[in-house]
């Protein structure tokens, strides 16, 4: 049953108890009023009966005094009293008015009759006083008959009083008593229930309502500020403390979902970026596959045709022509070999996992130069070095070495034969937290309009002197990507031109990534 329903039931119970109490008090008071009227009447009736008896006694005394003394005063008093009281007609009339019972009236009439008989008796005695001896008259007063008459008046009076007493007792209704006690009990019950009700309401339903509101609010996802009754020892306190726990979990849930949302967003961004990267890589791969298949097939087809031509030449006895053809076939196949080996290097450079280590430019450069020493026209070059960067560069050494070797090799290959003092300069320096590795020469350089495509795959820029597969600089760009850096080309500002290739590397690959 809902608390509010209990409260309402209790309220109506109190109201009902109040009404019953008021009604019973009303009836009780009315009964008491009635009772007092009855008692008053009885009292008056009693007085009237006593009056009759006393008046009778008084007259008798006067009559006795007169007979004994013969004094006129007593006779006068007797006569006067007789006129006012002895007949008692007014008293009876009053009793009828008061609604005396029939039995009571009979008794009173009996008393009157007896008293009247006594009067006659006394009058006869008093009359005898004037004629006969007063002593004899006095004696007559104490004789049995007179006394008997007096006693009968007293008896009737006593009987009447008894009757009155009975009636008075009967007038006190037992219903009124019951009503009185019931209303008293009800009043106390009402008071107690009302008091209990207000205490209880303050202790249970109101805090319970607060607690329920708090829980309902929490359930609908509101972080409720200030939860009451937390310090209560009662079950309400338990609920309030539980609410605090729920609120905390709600708060952390809210935070979690916000975090999740943020994570979701960043994930989406990351997925988007990855997808873009992947799609770019895929495009590049497709281009690579296409170019590769083209460049692989071309020398094979050419060689095959050249060999046919050589065969024909030999058959025709033209051995000079055959030698030229063989020479070209050789060139073609060499080109194929270069391409395949470059492709292998590229695949390795792209895919190989490698731990970072401290890169020693000086040692790498020395080793690279030693390796290139036997290249054609190497001896013409003036080799200069300037390692201004002396710190510890933490990166992937083999990739940096690949860039270095290729750039040196290119500088040797693409020398400008028209220059008197061809040179190559390998240098390092630290600029804004980035390590610059530069390979500078005064060779053929790259025309402005070609520079844009310099690092794309399968590009060759030097007519006739171009021996490469067109993959060299593309490979270097891939290496730069792997070390988190960039590779770029600058025109050599020195007179006569030339090229400067610059590899930019972050100081620590882990931090850059």
């Amino acid at each position: 049953m809902a608390i509010s329903k209990i409260v309402r039931t209790l309220f109506f119970l109190c109201l009902g108890l109040g009404v019953v109490t008021v009604v019973s008090v009303y009836f009780m008071s009315r009964n008491i009023g009635e009772q007092s009227v009855v008692q008053q009447k009885n009292f008056e009736l009693l007085l009237l009966s006593q009056d009759i008896e006393r008046a009778s006694a008084l007259l008798t005394r006067e009559a006795i005094s007169y007979t004994l003394t013969g004094e006129q005063d007593h006779l006068d008093a007797y006569t006067k009293g007789l006129a006012t009281s002895r007949s008692r007609e007014p008293a009876i009339g009053r009793m009828v008015q008061l609604g005396a019972s029939a039995a009571g009236l009979d008794l009173l009439r009996g008393m009157k009759t007896e008293a009247d008989a006594i009067v006659l008796w006394e009058q006869a005695l008093m009359a005898s006083v004037s004629g006969a001896s007063s002593v004899a008259a006095a004696q007559s007063f104490f004789q049995g008959d007179h006394a008997l008459s007096k006693a009968s008046v007293a008896d009737l009076s006593a009987e009447f009083r008894l009757l009155l007493a009975e009636r008075g007792a009967a007038g006190l209704s037992p219903n009124a008593l019951i009503a009185g006690s019931v209303s008293l009990v009800l009043f106390f019950v009402l008071f107690a229930v009302a008091a209990l009700f207000f205490c209880w309401k303050k202790m249970i339903p109101l805090p319970l309502k607060d607690a329920v509101q708090t829980l309902v609010s929490l359930a609908s996802g509101n972080v409720v500020e200030g939860i009451a009754h937390v310090d209560d020892k009662s079950e309400i306190g338990d609920i309030a403390r539980a609410s605090v726990v729920f609120r905390e979990s709600l708060q952390s849930n809210t935070k979690l979902s916000a975090d999740l949302e943020r994570f979701d967003e960043s994930l989406e961004l990351r997925v988007e970026k990855r997808t873009k990267d992947l799609s770019a890589a895929n495009d590049e791969l497709e281009e690579f596959a296409y170019r590769t298949s083209h460049d692989l097939r071309s020398p094979i087809n050419s060689s095959s045709r050249l060999l046919q031509m050589v065969q024909k030449s030999l058959e025709g006895g033209n051995s000079d022509q055959a030698l030229v053809g063989l020479n070209h076939a050789q060139t073609s196949l060499n080109k194929l070999e270069t391409l395949i080996s470059d492709m292998l290097v590229l695949a390795e450079a792209k895919g190989k996992g490698e731990d970072s280590e401290v890169v020693d430019f000086e040692t790498l450069t020395k080793a690279a130069l030693d390796k290139m020493m036997h290249m054609e026209f190497y001896d013409r070059l003036d080799v200069q070095t300037d390692f201004a960067f002396t710190g510890d560069l933490f990166s992937k050494q083999s990739r940096i070495n690949m860039v270095l070797e290729n750039l040196i090799s290119n500088a040797i290959k693409y020398q400008d034969p028209e220059k008197d003092r061809p040179y190559i300069k390998i240098s390092t320096k630290l600029v804004d937290g980035w390590v610059y590795m530069e390979v500078e020469d005064n060779g053929l350089g790259v025309p402005k309009e070609q520079q844009k495509k310099l690092f794309s795959m399968f590009q060759r820029f030097h007519p006739k002197v171009s021996f490469g597969s067109g993959l060299g600089l593309y490979l270097l760009k891939k290496c730069a990507d792997v070390v988190g850096g960039e590779i770029g080309y600058l025109d050599n500002p020195a007179s006569g031109g030339g090229s400067i290739f610059r590899l930019t590397i972050p100081m620590d690959l882990a931090e850059a990534a």
Binding site: R297, N301, F461, S466
Partner: protein
Amino acid sequence: MSLSCVMVVDDSEPDQFISKVMIEQHDSNITVLQAYDGQEALEVLDKSEIKPQLIFLDINMPRMNGHEFLAAYEKIPNNDASVIVMLTSSDQTKDVEGSAAYQSVKAHFAKPLDIAGLELADKDLLKKAS
């Protein structure tokens, strides 16, 4: 009009050699002009006194590739509008379509050049053009 001058634009020495031999086999009186990239081809065209009636053009070359050459060639005022035949090892749609967009390009041959191709170019293409 018989074929008297042909230009081969190709950066590959062996392919140049094959083309030259084939052309000479076809007709030893034909003059063969050689260029190793688009840039050089433009220079050769500019300097040469006799203009080629037929140009065999490769696509993938250093400095200036076949497509760039075509763009530049068609801009030359009063050019004699030689018949250009793409001679490449690429049969990729992209490259074929890229070349076909130029009106001077009349055919697309796969490398290396053979006699049948030469005869086709000589008889059909040149006659249609003239």
